[in-house]
């Protein structure tokens, strides 16, 4: 009954207006009874005053009920106990009646105001329950802490009549620092810094600051103590958010706008809200961890796939080399000279294939691992394409036509890396299109919505087109599309490498079917942004 007795104390000094209402009520009742003084027995009159006291107790509280009781006592004596209109009492037995009446009136006042307080507590409880229900309903619907926390904070703020309420979450992954506060604040930067430092103390000590007794203490000794507790109390209430012994942040509630301490119910609500906030943040963290675990699982699965593909790509040429080389030595010398040459040529070919694969694989992992960042220098893309085409065998180079925008500006790229990209795209185009078809390389400058002002390099062949479903996978490693019906040899890494390099340059690479009226080939387009834009 602690709350009840505290509420009594709070109720004991009602506003002056309540006493006046009590007096008026007693006066009104006296007037009414006076009209029927002849009808009522003087003993009955005393009973008629008790409902008035009861009314005051229920509606106005204990204090005004006592006022009404005392006033009734005097009115009864003055108006209804002979001799009338004096406080003198004729019959000594009436003294006993008066004493009993006063006792009865006081007990009535006490009981009535108790009913009133219990009703008030019940109403508060109901309100609290309703608010908690609403809060938990929102909690249940909203998984996302970033959306839920502001709602919760706003509820705390309005229920606690505070001007500001904030949640200061810890910063992952170290959880040593508090991050940006969540919630609307009307405070200055200095004030926020002070709040942050007190919040840190609350979190480190895992201690409520500004609550209960300490809250009242500071009111008595405002600003006289430099201790973190009382300094914090002046700012408001700090509740560490803990879930599963994991420190998640601090809930801060600013002081009530009327300067009074929080009521018991408000304090309870703050604690409940803090629990909710902790659960919300913890759940968010768990959701994040679950997602991370899923990504890791997927990466694991991908690594397995990758490994099996890699080992296949490595084993095939190795097996061919071993077969041919072992055929050349020892007792297999029955091979004819022509067969020996054939075997040696096969070895040479397979080694080239192996070297290309290993080279691509290493380049790709170096780029994706961030170990081979582009070293940019001014480059003439026209010159670069020329250099790559110049390295191709004559027959292949003859199929390639380069179209240049007359004014190609220099661009800052890593020319060695970009040479690999162009080389791969040209190799692809040469491989996948018929030997008598032309391959067009176009260079130009354009303004792209996403990339900005950029250099466009496009390689267009007359090879087989691809379906929409394939388009997404073309640049994935080891993807060998339906564009590859005849088992054209390749590592399945070329385009993945192209994409990694171009993206390391901040550019994009894509493929589209081209030709009219029906698509008769594919164009691979690279867009490289100018750095200065």
């Amino acid at each position: 009954m602690d709350a009840l007795s505290r509420a009594f104390r709070r109720d004991f000094r009602p506003a002056v207006a309540d006493h006046i209402v009590a007096l008026v009520a007693v006066g009104f009742a006296t007037g009414l009874i006076l009209v029927g003084r002849s009808v009522f027995d003087k003993g009955q009159v005393s009973l008629l005053y008790l409902p008035v006291v009861m009314f005051c107790g229920i509606r106005l509280g204990f204090g005004s009920a006592i006022t009404a009781a005392v006033a009734s006592f005097f009115c009864w004596d003055f108006f209804f106990l002979p001799p009338y209109y004096t406080l003198v009492v004729e019959n000594p037995k009436d003294w006993l009646s008066l004493a009993v009446f006063l006792l009865a009136a006081i007990i009535t006042a006490r009981l009535a105001s108790q009913i009133r307080i219990e009703a008030q507590i019940a109403r508060d409880r109901e309100r609290e329950t309703r608010l908690l229900y609403e809060a938990s309903e929102q909690l249940a619907q909203e998984v996302n802490a970033t959306r839920l926390l502001p709602v919760l904070i706003e509820q705390v703020r309005s229920i606690c009549n505070s001007d500001t309420s904030l949640v200061l979450p810890v910063v992952l992954p170290t959880k040593d620092e508090l991050g940006q506060p969540i919630g609307q604040s009307v405070y200055s930067e200095d004030m926020l810094a002070a709040i942050r430092s007190v919040a840190k103390v609350a979190l480190e000590r895992n201690q409520l600051i500004g609550f209960g007794d300490s809250q009242r203490l500071w009111q008595k000794a405002v600003g006289q103590d430099e201790d973190g507790d009382s300094a914090g109390s002046q700012l408001g209430v700090f509740v560490p958010l803990i879930a599963h012994e994991d420190r998640l942040g601090v809930l801060y509630v600013g002081r009530r706008d009327d300067g009074l301490p929080f009521t018991r119910l408000q304090e309870q609500f703050i604690l409940t809200a803090a629990n909710h906030a902790a659960i919300v943040i913890a759940r968010q963290e768990l959701v994040g961890q679950a997602a991370e675990a899923r990504v890791l699982r997927e990466a694991d699965a991908m690594k397995d796939t990758l490994l099996s593909l890699v080992s296949h790509e490595l084993r095939t040429p190795l097996a061919a080399i071993k077969a041919n080389a072992s055929g050349l030595i020892g007792e297999h010398s029955y091979l004819s000279t022509a067969e020996k040459i054939e075997a040696i040529e096969a070895i040479d070919r397979e080694v080239d294939r192996l070297a290309l694969f290993v080279g691509n694989m290493l380049d790709l992992s170096r780029i994706e691992g961030g170990m081979w960042r582009p070293v940019r220098d001014w480059t003439d893309v026209d010159e670069l394409v020329g250099a790559v085409v110049g390295q191709l065998p004559g027959a292949a180079a003859g199929r390639i036509a380069v179209h240049i925008d007359k004014e190609m500006p220099l661009i800052q790229i890593d020319d060695a890396q970009m040479a690999i990209v162009i080389r791969n795209l040209l190799d692809n185009a040469l491989k996948y299109s018929a030997p008598d078809t032309q391959i067009d390389v176009s260079l130009g400058v354009l303004q792209d919505e996403d990339v900005g002002r950029c250099v466009l390099i496009s390689v267009r062949d007359k090879g087989p087109t691809f379906s929409e479903a394939e388009a997404e996978h073309l640049f994935e490693r080891f993807y060998r599309g339906a564009r590859n019906p005849d088992g054209i040899p390749g590592t399945g890494l070329g385009l993945a490498l192209c994409r990694a390099i171009v993206e390391a340059h901040g550019g994009t690479v894509g493929a589209v079917n081209v030709g009219s009226p029906e698509p008769d080939g594919v164009s691979f387009n690279i867009m490289l942004p100018f750095l200065d834009d």
Binding site: D348, V351, A355, G359, L362, D363, R366, W372, V375, D377, W378, T379, D380, D382, E383, L384, V385, G386, A387, V388, V389, G390, A397, V402, I404, L410, D414, D415, A416, Q417, M418, A419
Partner: protein
């Protein structure tokens, strides 16, 4: 011993015995005398104690003395041609070695044809270099550079070059078949303070190509080695 005077001596440095063996066999078959070393230390001792005409040098050597150290050290007292063997994609390393004075590079894994072609070209150039003072005109395809008269002709027709374009062409032709890094070319033509001004070089080489190449888009004379530098060919294959 009289015969050995005619035979060129090539020092091959690599820590992989099977590569050493293969290279050695092929070079001997081509008529060269071959010395081998497996560490940087050994290579330096070998190069200083006997007459060598060319060094084939793996840049990734075990031990304290790297291929780059060997290159730097040898250049202090000799201008013997050096061919660097380097792993794929290590353009910075190649540039560093070339800036230190290496003459050419080959990327591992390499084919023997490639290696012997580079060796032949560099040894040929070594002969020419001794006659540099004679200012013999440089000829390649239909291009001719007459150093005495400072005239460049293509198929007998004079080509008008700006002073910088001419200087670039002269420097490249004096170092024909060698890979010249951007830094080397910029320092030689514009001076050391300009050694990082790649933009300048790109523009002038582009203009030079338009004047001397049959097809500037796919140059045959001045070729670009992406990430490394330029090379002027002394003969068209």
């Amino acid at each position: 011993m009289a015969l050995s005077n005619d035979r060129k001596v090539i020092l091959v440095v690599d820590d992989e015995p099977s590569i050493l063996r293969a290279v050695r066999a092929v070079l001997i078959a081509q008529g060269y005398e071959v010395l081998t070393a497996v560490t940087g230390d050994e290579a330096l001792k070998c190069a200083s104690s006997s007459k060598t005409d060319l060094i084939v040098l793996d840049i990734m050597l075990p031990g304290d003395v790297s291929g780059l150290d060997v290159c730097r050290n040898v250049r202090q007292w000799s201008d013997v041609p050096i061919i660097i063997l380097s792993a794929i994609g290590r353009e910075r390393q190649k540039v560093e070695a070339l800036d230190l004075g290496a003459d050419d590079y080959i990327t591992k894994p390499f084919g023997m044809n490639e290696l012997t072609a580079r060796v032949r070209a560099l040894l040929r150039r070594g002969l020419v270099r001794h006659e540099e003072d004679s200012n013999e005109p440089f000829k390649c395809g239909d291009l001719e550079v007459d150093f005495d008269r400072r005239v460049v002709t293509r198929a007998g027709v004079e080509v008008k070059l700006t002073p910088h374009e001419y200087d670039i062409l002269v420097y490249l032709s004096r170092n024909a078949d060698r890979v010249i890094t951007h830094r080397q070319l910029l320092s030689a033509v514009w001076g050391a303070p300009y050694s990082e001004e790649t933009q300048l070089l790109r523009v002038h080489v582009g203009n030079l190509r338009r004047k001397i190449e049959a097809n500037a888009s796919i140059p045959q004379l001045i070729t670009t080695e992406p990430g490394v530098g330029y090379r002027l060919r002394s003969s068209l294959v």
